[in-house]
């Protein structure tokens, strides 16, 4: 079946612009995660949803970062007033009732 998809795959934003990154999880997966991967590092947790409920947002680096999953399926990660330090790959993962997470291809964000 189809895996996790993310769009856009690449995004270039000027400093100060707002961006929205989309994640389509595997159909039927109740859990959805966002991670941020800086160049040369492992992914780092941002936030977690179970259905439409955001149960953990402890990894969001600032109040400029906001995530939602209003109908328990598609999720959007929004970054307001982007800064250069926001440049990274943003990864989405989903899981069913097991612990195993499956990752999308990521969105590479470059802030100029």
């Amino acid at each position: 079946g189809a895996g996790v998809s993310q769009s856009p795959r690449y995004k270039v934003a000027k400093r100060g612009q707002d961006v929205a990154l989309r994640c389509d999880p595997i159909s039927g997966h109740v859990s959805l995660f966002w991670y941020q991967q800086a160049l040369g590092q492992g992914p780092e947790f941002l936030t977690y949803f179970q259905n439409e409920a955001q149960l953990d947002k402890s990894g969001l680096p600032s109040d400029r970062f906001f995530a939602e999953r209003p109908e328990g399926s598609v999720s959007t990660l929004k970054i307001q007033r982007t800064q250069q330090e926001d440049s990274a790959v943003y990864l989405c993962a989903s899981s069913l009732r097991s612990y195993e997470q499956y990752f999308g291809p990521g969105t590479r964000l470059t802030v100029t």
């Binding site: 109740v30 859990s31 995660f33 991670y35 590092q41 492992g42 992914p43 780092e44 947790f45 977690y48 179970q50 953990d56 990894g59 790959v89 990864l91 993962a93 899981s95 009732r97 097991s98 612990y99 195993e100 997470q101 499956y102 990752f103 291809p105 990521g106 590479r108």
Partner: protein, 109 residues
């Protein structure tokens, strides 16, 4: 929070060689996954292995949960095995994964 250490940080092999990649973690976990990140950045699931031993073709993995480490074995390596290998751990159902820094593997023809 939980700490994850992977070793060695870099590994260069000739095609056909075998290798062992190690992951140490600092606390009890109930989720442990190995991933291969290909040159396009996609994280590919290799094993979900919070304990025990699994094999899939030329790859196998062992996790000794009581001693807080996991090993990934690659046999008869191929150039397509090149990339970064990540170990990631989690605690609790559907909880966040904490990743190691990865092991960069280069397999030369």
């Amino acid at each position: 929070g939980i700490q994850v250490e992977q070793s060695p940080p870099d590994l260069i092999l000739q095609e056909g060689a075998n290798s062992t990649l190690r992951c140490n973690f600092s606390d009890s976990v109930n989720n442990l996954q190995w991933f291969h990140q290909n040159p396009w950045g996609q994280l590919i699931n290799l094993f979900y292995i919070p304990s025990g031993t699994k094999q899939n073709g030329r790859l196998s993995a062992t996790t000794v949960a009581t001693e807080r480490y996991s090993l990934l074995y690659i046999s008869s390596s191929q150039t397509t095995d090149s990339g970064v290998y990540f170990c990631a751990v989690g605690v609790g159902a559907n909880s966040k994964l904490t990743f190691g820094k990865g092991i960069t593997l280069s397999v030369r023809p």
